[in-house]
Structure formats: structure tokens, C-alpha cells
Amino acid sequence: MLHNVTDSQAAAERTPKVMELAEAIAAFVPAHAESLWVGGMHMHNVPMALVRECIRQGKRFETFYAGPSSSLAAELLIGSGLVEQVVVGYIGFEHFGLAPVFRRAAERPEDSLKIIEADSGSLTLALQAGAWGQPFAPLPRGLAETSLPLASPNFYKSVTDPFTGIATLAVKAIRPSVALIHCQQADQFGNGIFKGSFFVDRLLAMASDNVIMQVEGLLDNAQVIKYPQQTGVPGFRVSAVAPVNFGCHPTSSHRYYNFDDVHLRLYMQAASTEEGFASYMKQYVTGPDDQEEYMRRVQNQDWSSIQEEE
């Protein structure tokens, strides 16, 4: 009834997708990629190790989709100057405050960063349309009464509902060329498991051209088969799996660790000036060779001094 030994032998011949973090980014992220969407939301499940590695390798992205709710990933990518255009659903830090680098880039008189004003619902519907191969997504009623269509006339366009004749707004389908996502666990073939929230990541994995997944740890394919309903991302959608400890730090990894409020406040404080942001980047992003060195620097940080500054 169950799969037998011969199957396991065949499975052994399957090509594992496990790679070193740097190798995965080098192999599957073009030097100048069309678009990027980073998984997780707010300060949760954000694949920060993958993001930091993209920055270390100087990968450039024509469009970064900051949806539905981006925080530190958007900050570091924008601050590194690697993003030409950002489509904004939400960039912020919830109770920690507004996003300092994004603010500075947006409030500067010179137009260094192109910002497309959007919203989380439309971005998600556009991603869903992309996954289904639909050309565009008509929107529910309501958006016409906001300032968005006027602010972003190329993002929101009007279309006539062929069934009612009523004009409705629509957004073009989005198929990210690169998606970075975090699962708590995966097997070597990329079957990924969310131990907590799914956020938009399951849909993201179905819609994107290249999906690179970081995980806290690997588990056996046999474990995956035991609870197949638990699999959040089917392996065939994944190009590479990179195991990395505390890869979401300073954001949370559901069930594994909470977001690091001390480090996040350190970031908020540092990034409040350009110089502070530059030294944060040097200390924590471009300086460390890899995630291990990053974590050493995080752990050697003098927490007490930071807490005293409050």
C-alpha cells in the first residue's frame, strides 16, 4: 500500500536542491533581474539572509514589489541603491515606526528612487493573476474614490466590465522574476513547511519564475510524505534550498524565534541618518562574509549599551 524500498531508491536518484546561500543567489538571481518579491510580512518570516546575500553580490532589480507589507528588506535594498523602482503597498515597522531609509529616499527632492504608489490588495490580486496566467486583475469597487488611480495612472487602468458595461479599475498581472522566501523546514527537494503563518508566500512560490528558499533546517523526505497536508510549498516550484541558522534575523521565524526588538531598535536609530545607515550596512550586511559572521556580530553586539540609550 505504501511506497516501498524501490521508490526510496528512485528518490535517492533525484537531484537535491540544497545549496549554500551564496551559491543559490549566484546561480538563480541574474545580475540585473527584472523584478523581485520578498516573502514574509512586517517583521515576520522575512528571508533576510537571502536579502543580505543579494546585496553582498550586488544584484540589481528593476522593480521591487514592496507588498503586501515590507519592512527591513525594502530598507536595505533601497538603501543599497540596488532597486530602480519600488511598487509600494506598505513599507514600515508597525509599532517601531516609519521606515527611515524609504522616508529619506522619498522625501529627497531629486528623484533617485522611482516610487509607484499602490496598495496591498491590488498587489496581491496582481500576483494572483500572474500565477493563473491571467493578463490582468479587475479590482473590486472602491479604489476609484482614493487618490491612487491619479497618482499611479500606469499601475491602475480603467476597463469596461463586458457583462455590465460599468467602468472598473484593473491592475496588470505580476509574475516576479525572482522570489525569495523563508520556510521553517524543507526536505532536500524543496518541499517547504511553514510552521506558522503562510503570509503570501505559497502564492508567491506559485507565481514566480525563480523561487529561492531559505530554511532553518532540513528534514527527511519521508517526514514530508508523512504529513503532506503540511507542505506549504511544493518542491517543484523551488530552484534552490539554502539552510541557514536564524536566517530571518532580525525579523521573526514563526515558531523558531521572535523578531529581535533590540536589534530592530538599533537599526531604527542607526538608519535615522545616512551615515548611521552606512555604518549599519558595513557592520551587518556588506561587512560580514556570510550569515555566520553576521550572527557573530549580532551576538557580540553590546545590547546593554543600546538599551541604556533608550
Binding site: 490588495g121 473590486p140 472602491g142
Partner: protein, 278 residues
Amino acid sequence: MSDDYKPVLRAGSDPLVFFNYPGADEGSAIAPGHIMAAAIAHALRDGEVVVMGANPLLPLAASRLAQLTHAPNLTILTGASGGVNTLVEPLVPSSGDYANLIAEAVLTFPEILMLQMGGKTDIFFAGGLQIDRRGNCNLATVGKHTPPTLRGPGSAGLPWAQSSRRTLLYTTSHHKRLFVPQVDFVSAPGWPAGSRDPAASGPALVVTPLALMDFSDEGLMRLVSLHSGVRLESVVAATGFDLLLPEGDIPVTPQPTEQEMRIMRRLDPDGLLAIVLQ
């Protein structure tokens, strides 16, 4: 806790143990946050479905309070986490928290948006950098759009506020830069000019640390009550437009009852409700 639970980074980084806010106290006194949470709770009706976005501490406290008092059939959708009817105590300040999955169901975030935008929720909670007298909210840019004088996070889920029957607006401060005659950018639409269509959905209530407000039949913001100890002049001075006033004496917003305070202290032993709001 499961056997695959990882050693924590350091004390305080456990996903189910939350840091204390600096200055958190026992919250034994009644703070504006408690008055606000109770006022919001009173506005929620049994059987309704509420959905909240980023930074949901206040609406979450209010919704749980309602569930534990007069509205046991209230359904709470905790934004980013996808949690349905979270039971976590103490409450946590981030919408996407793992702790919010001590709950009855975990939806994907597209499903949360689907339910909200598809009209399956009764209450949407919103706030903004600016709110005007018609209840328009701005979470995008203050000043001209490019470049703005203040860049906010973006409109997030606010454009779909009208997909819920009623929008409850809440703010953690009350001043003229926030309550403006007209928002610079409409993230969530308020009431259109002219008289309100009684069947239409839109902003129903505004709760601030100073006062409680609703909207007139013409869709203009109107004072309902002042929180205990707040003077009318303070509210008028802190509001950048002519606030409609109720007829007769201006009531005082009901203080939370002993039972409500007991529940709120249980939901929020660190007194976050008292601290977050200045």
C-alpha cells in the same frame, strides 16, 4: 512546544514570549488607551466579523474585550498572521505574530484580503497620518505627492475600507497635523459630499486619546463624547477643522467598568495600552 523548537537566540527572543515595552508598568490606572479600547468594544455587535491590519494592539484589545463581554460570536481576523479568533494573552503588538496563531484557524494573507475585499467582514479598523472631517484617511504622503514632506508607509489595505460595512478609525494622538481639513492623499475614502446614503458603508466612529466622534447625516465628523478630564477647548484646539458638536451637554465617554478593566489588565498585563498612547 514541539520537539523541533529551536534554542532561542537569547532571553526574550522566544516567539511566544514578548519583550516588555520600556516603561511598561502594571497599568493599574485607567489610561486613555483603556477608555478607547472600551469605546471601540461597545461599538462592536455580536456576530460581526472584524479585520485589522498593522499595529493592531488597540483594535485587538477592543475586539477581545467585546468577545469576552457582550459579543461572544464576534469573529476576529488578525491581519498578517492570518489568525482567526486569536486567544493569545498577553496581546502582542505585531499583526503578523506567531502568537496570534493561538487561534481557531490560520488563513493565508491573500485569503484575509479576499474576505475583506469580497465584503465578508463587517468592521475594518483604520488610521492614518492625516484624517479629515469627512473621514478620508491618508497613509501615503503628506504635502505634495513627489516629493512629500512626510512619506508614510503606503496605503496598505485602506483603499478597501468600504468593503466592510463600517470603518472604525483610531489614532494614538490628537492634534492639528493629524486632523486636517482635507487629507493630501486619500488612502481610505471617507463620506462623499452631500447627504449620506444610509445603506452605504464608510467611517462610523473615530476614537482618539481625547474624544469619541462619529459622522453626521451629511458625512461630517461630529463629537460624541469627551474622555474623562478632557476639556472641549482642548479637542477644538487640537482639531484642524470645525468639529460638529452634539446638541445639549457634551457627554463624557463612559469609563471602563471594573470588569472591563479586569479583562484589559489580563489581556495586557504590561500596560501597553497605557504606554503606546500619549
